[in-house]
Each structure stands twice: as structure tokens, then as C-alpha cells.
């Protein structure tokens, strides 16, 4: 495990050095992403300029939820956001190279890139988190303070697991990236808002099938001392790390099975 972590750092390091070969381009992308994401939270501010509450959640509470989800999403995006190039690896057959090296294939795909430029989104999330914490009333305890970093880490793992599982669709249907994007970016949108505002079937989906409700919603209930509008048990607030572990194991199994269906390219 430690050896794998070390090689991950090395592979990512090689990728970062490659990006620094094109310094200007990387710098411009970083600025571009920063400007784009700065406007992201505006949508929520606009809603609250018109209504005082959103499904019994105040502006500060929604901002807190938004920040948790956004930081988790940004971390996943930095680490494995390049999975959207994975179908191209399949189409061009460069995945062949990965399979002839003595390392787990998923580790190599994940380490194939490291998008520094996406750091901008995480910074924006942190800014919103700081803003939220100044206007919401939190009854601080050690548990609540610890819950924030833990929720962010577990959330990043859950997003990652969902993305990886979805990316395996490319082993069968190479051009499915738009479908996958609908789930990944759409999923991030879902987890930025209180669950109560969505239709019943959608709520069921993100609690029981694709566990996105565990990214930010359930941990936020605990930190903000709120009850789920649907009356789901409070204990679910502590389930995120376990859900993250299960999701990661499931994604790993899906990946290993999918690799056996790889068809390569050319003769």
C-alpha cells in the first residue's frame, strides 16, 4: 500500500513536470477556472434575494451545504477529473500500455493526470465555507468540528467512486461521456442543495442507490443540528465514512470486472 502511494506520487509528479513544460498555458487555465467558479455561488445568492428560505434552510445553511459539496467535488476533480479523457484512452488503445505495466490499472489511470488548474474551485468552496460559518449558528463541539474535514474527505471518496464506476461504461460504449457527465456534474449539483427540495424519487435515488446524499447533506444535518424532512434516522449523519468505504470497494470491483471486457483497438 505504501509502495503504491509512493509510485502514485511519482507518476503524478511526472505529470506536473510535464504541465510545467507549458507554463503559460497552465497559468492561463488556472486563472480561467478561477473566474468561472467565482460566479458559481451567485446562483444561490440570487435565489435567496427572492425567498428567505429554501425548504426550511436559511441562506447560511445552504451556503454551508454548498461549500461541503463543492470542496469535496473539487478535490475529486483535481485528483481524477481527467477520467473524462478515459474514453479517449480506450478509443485510441493507449490503455494497452497501462495493462502491460506491473501496477493496478486504476492507479495508473488515476495518476495519468493531475489538474492543477482545478485548484481554483476548491479555493472558491473554502471561501463560501468561511462565509457560511460567519452567518450560521453552530453549537460547536469537538465532534462537529471534526465532522467538517471528515465529511469533505468522505464526500470526495464517494464522488470518486461514483465517477470511476460510471467511467467503466466506456469499456462497452466509447461515446458515453455525455451520459457520464450528466451524472457527475449533475450529481454535484444535486448534493449542493437541501434534499427536501427535490422530488421523492430523486431523493430515494441519492440516498439508497447513488449515495450522493452522504457527500454533504447528512453530515450537514449533524453539524447544523437539523432533522431530515423525510424523517430518516439521525444516525445516517455518521454513516458517510462507512458509505465512502463501501462505495470505494464497490467501484474497485466494478472496475476490475470492466477491465476484463476491454477490447483494445486496431488489429
Amino acid at each position: 500500500m505504501r509502495a503504491l502511494a509512493a509510485i502514485y506520487v511519482r507518476l503524478v509528479g511526472a505529470r506536473v513536470r510535464s504541465q510545467l513544460e507549458y507554463r503559460l498555458s497552465t497559468a492561463l487555465q488556472l486563472v480561467g477556472v478561477g473566474i468561472l467558479t467565482a460566479t458559481d455561488f451567485v446562483a444561490i445568492a440570487v435565489i435567496f434575494a427572492n425567498v428567505p428560505e429554501l425548504g426550511e434552510w436559511s441562506l447560511g445553511e445552504v451556503a454551508f451545504l454548498y461549500a461541503l459539496a463543492t470542496i469535496s467535488f473539487a478535490l475529486t476533480d483535481i485528483a481524477i477529473g481527467h477520467l473524462d479523457l478515459f474514453p479517449q484512452m480506450i478509443r485510441e488503445g493507449t490503455f494497452d500500455q497501462i495493462l502491460v505495466r506491473p501496477l493496478p490499472s486504476l492507479l495508473q489511470v488515476v495518476a495519468a493526470d493531475f489538474a492543477l488548474r482545478r485548484l481554483g474551485k476548491a479555493l472558491q468552496g473554502l471561501a463560501v465555507l468561511a462565509f457560511a460559518l460567519t452567518i450560521v449558528d453552530v453549537d460547536w463541539t469537538v465532534g462537529r468540528a471534526l465532522a467538517i474535514p471528515l465529511a469533505i474527505a468522505a464526500g470526495a471518496v464517494i464522488y470518486g467512486a461514483v465517477w470511476i464506476a460510471l467511467a467503466t461504461v466506456a469499456f462497452w460504449i466509447v461515446d458515453a461521456i455525455e451520459l457520464v457527465n450528466a451524472f457527475t456534474y449533475g450529481g454535484s449539483f444535486l448534493s449542493q442543495y437541501p434534499l427536501g427540495i427535490f422530488a421523492r424519487w430523486l431523493r430515494g435515488l441519492v440516498v439508497f442507490v447513488v449515495p450522493l446524499a452522504f457527500v454533504a447533506y447528512f453530515p450537514a444535518l449533524y453539524v447544523l443540528d437539523k432533522d431530515d424532512e423525510l424523517g430518516l434516522p439521525r444516525a445516517l449523519s455518521f454513516a458517510s465514512p462507512f458509505v465512502a468505504t463501501l462505495a470505494a470497494l464497490a467501484a474497485g470491483a466494478v472496475w476490475r470486472n470492466a477491465v476484463r471486457h476491454y477490447r483494445s483497438a486496431g488489429g
Binding site: I7, A14, Y22, L103
Partner: protein, 321 residues
């Protein structure tokens, strides 16, 4: 070292027929292949495009999972023990790079040392030797994207050998190289095979690669083995016919030369087909020169596609032993 028993690989292809209907069709890329390569053997793997060569190599290296049959490489099942196998084999795909495109060549070797967990001492010794033999010193600090094809191929060969593999798979290693680079790569491969006893399976279109390197030849077509034996015997049986292409000073009627017949005329250029066991190229050239004003000439060997066609035509494929 390499064993295959009744190996098959089937692909499902969806072809469009009509506006909406699609037809599912099963293609057998590899169709019941069995053979065995001994340790230290250097074998050429030939066949026309789409014959199943690359598909076989991909199954032997653990990239593709066979649909049926059993494969053992260095005693391992490639698709199930992929990572373990990867440590013990080297792979060079001529058309794809395993080097880090934007980094200096030397950085790739360093990364590979960590990926394959080669002890530092051994890595240094191997790299030193390969650097000498392949003359890498001049461009080891150049980013891979700036290397010429020949330089890159030398880098690829080094990358594939740094971890002392027991088996190397080479897929078109000389494709696109100039004559000098081709000769260097061939010489190097022969030496690696001789000195380290590495088992080599070489996929190629270039009969000269085989001629220089391989004692044994496997030819496949439509996913089946149609020849397993030496190159000399194959040539004696099917490769006797060669073609002398002559450019005359001006267009002339087909030449009348004993021991050869004109198969094609295009202006001042004529193609003369002759048999290697009846006439030598030197003899024939002399005769042509005596009868016509010769400007240029070239000799064409029988192409592998042609040999495969003839093996079918005579129906005399020697079964795999």
C-alpha cells in the same frame, strides 16, 4: 516459455444494416490457436493485416482476455496474473509509445525503475550497458516528443529491457525506421537474445526482420496457424519466385530472356519474374543488360501476403507440430 492450447478470441461486431437495424455479428479474430515456444527461442510471427497477430500478442501480454482456451507465459495465466507477468515480460508496440511524451527520455527510465521496482544497482548497470549498445547518451536529456522515430525506438527498446524480462514481445519494432536504424535494432535484438537467453516473439510485416533474426516462423491467417517451421523451408516451398524490376532507356516490347518471363510492362519499366533455384539475379541482370540499355534495377522478394496466398492455393499448409 509460451504455451497456447486452443486459444480463441471472439469479438461481437455491430454493423449497421438499413436505417435503424443493426446486426450483431461474431468475429473470430483468433480461432483455435495452439503452439509452444521454448525458452531462448526467437520466433517470427507473421500474417496479413487482420490475421490475428496483434490480438494474440495482446492475449499473451494480459491485455485481452481469451474467449476460450488456455495460455501460459512464464508459467503464468496472463489475464489473471497480469501484474506478476508484467514484471517478467517486456513489450514494444512499434506504433505506440510507453515513454513519457513531454519529459526527457532519462526521466522515463527513472520512472520505470520505480514502476518495476528494479534495485538501484541493477538499474544503473542495465542502463549503462543499454546506453552504450544503443548509443542513447546523445539524446537521453531530450524530451521524448522531440526525438526522431529511430531515437525513440531505441528508447522504447531500452524501456522494455531495463527490468531484465524473460520474454519480450515486439510488435512491428522496425516499422517506419530507415535502413540504418532497422539494421541497428535487428543487431541489438539478436545480441539480447544470444547473450541473455531472452525468449523473443516478433510480429512484423518485414520478411527481412525474420530473415536476420528468427530461426522459427509462425504464420497465421484468419486466426489459424498455417505455417510453423523454418524460414528456409518456407522459402524453398513458396518463396522461390522473385521479381526483377528493370528501367530501360526507352519503352520496349517485353524482353525475351531465358529463365524469366515478363509479367508487367509500364513504359520503359518491365517486371521479370524468375525462380531463385533456376536463375540467379546476377545472371539475369547480365542477360538483360546484354539485350537492352539498362538504366536502373531492383529486386522484389515475394511478399508475405503472396506467400500466404500460395500456401492456400496449394492447400499444403504444414500443420502445427
Amino acid at each position: 516459455m509460451i504455451e497456447l492450447w486452443n486459444v480463441e478470441k471472439r469479438f461481437v461486431v455491430r454493423a449497421k444494416i438499413g436505417r435503424l437495424r443493426r446486426e450483431r455479428r461474431e468475429v473470430r479474430a483468433v480461432d483455435g490457436l495452439s503452439y509452444r515456444l521454448e525458452r531462448g527461442e526467437m520466433t517470427g510471427y507473421l500474417g496479413p493485416n487482420g490475421a490475428g497477430k496483434s490480438t494474440t500478442v495482446k492475449m499473451l501480454t494480459g491485455i485481452l482476455v481469451p474467449s476460450a482456451g488456455v495460455i501460459r507465459v512464464a508459467g503464468l495465466d496472463p489475464s489473471r496474473q497480469r501484474i506478476e507477468l508484467a514484471r517478467r515480460i517486456g513489450v514494444v508496440f512499434g506504433q505506440r509509445s510507453q515513454l513519457w511524451w513531454d519529459l526527457p527520455l532519462g526521466d522515463s527510465f527513472d520512472l520505470l525503475r520505480h514502476i518495476y521496482r528494479v534495485p538501484a544497482e541493477r538499474h544503473r548497470a542495465n542502463l549503462k550497458r543499454l546506453t552504450e549498445v544503443l548509443g542513447l547518451a546523445a539524446f537521453v536529456n531530450t524530451p521524448v516528443r522531440q526525438l526522431s522515430l529511430g531515437q525513440r525506438m531505441r528508447g522504447e527498446l531500452t524501456a522494455a529491457l531495463l527490468h531484465d524480462p524473460e520474454v519480450i514481445f515486439l510488435d512491428e519494432p522496425t516499422i517506419g525506421l530507415d535502413i540504418v536504424a532497422k539494421a541497428a535494432v535487428r543487431e541489438f535484438l539478436a545480441e539480447v537474445n544470444r547473450e541473455r537467453g531472452v525468449t523473443v516473439l516478433l510480429t512484423t510485416h518485414d520478411l527481412a526482420d525474420i530473415e536476420r533474426l528468427c530461426s522459427r516462423l509462425l504464420i497465421i491467417d484468419h486466426g489459424r496457424l498455417i505455417w510453423d517451421g523454418g524460414l528456409d523451408e518456407l522459402k524453398r516451398r513458396y518463396g522461390q519466385e522473385r521479381t526483377l524490376v528493370v528501367d530501360l532507356e526507352e519503352a520496349a516490347p517485353p524482353l525475351e530472356v531465358s529463365g524469366a518471363r515478363v509479367t508487367k510492362v509500364d513504359g520503359p519499366r518491365q517486371w521479370l519474374s524468375f525462380r531463385r533455384d533456376e536463375t540467379s539475379a546476377a545472371e539475369l541482370t547480365a542477360t538483360v543488360a546484354a539485350n537492352a540499355r539498362l538504366v536502373d534495377l531492383a529486386i522484389e522478394e515475394t511478399q508475405i501476403e503472396e506467400i500466404v496466398r500460395r500456401i492456400y492455393a496449394t492447400g499444403a499448409a504444414r500443420p502445427a507440430s
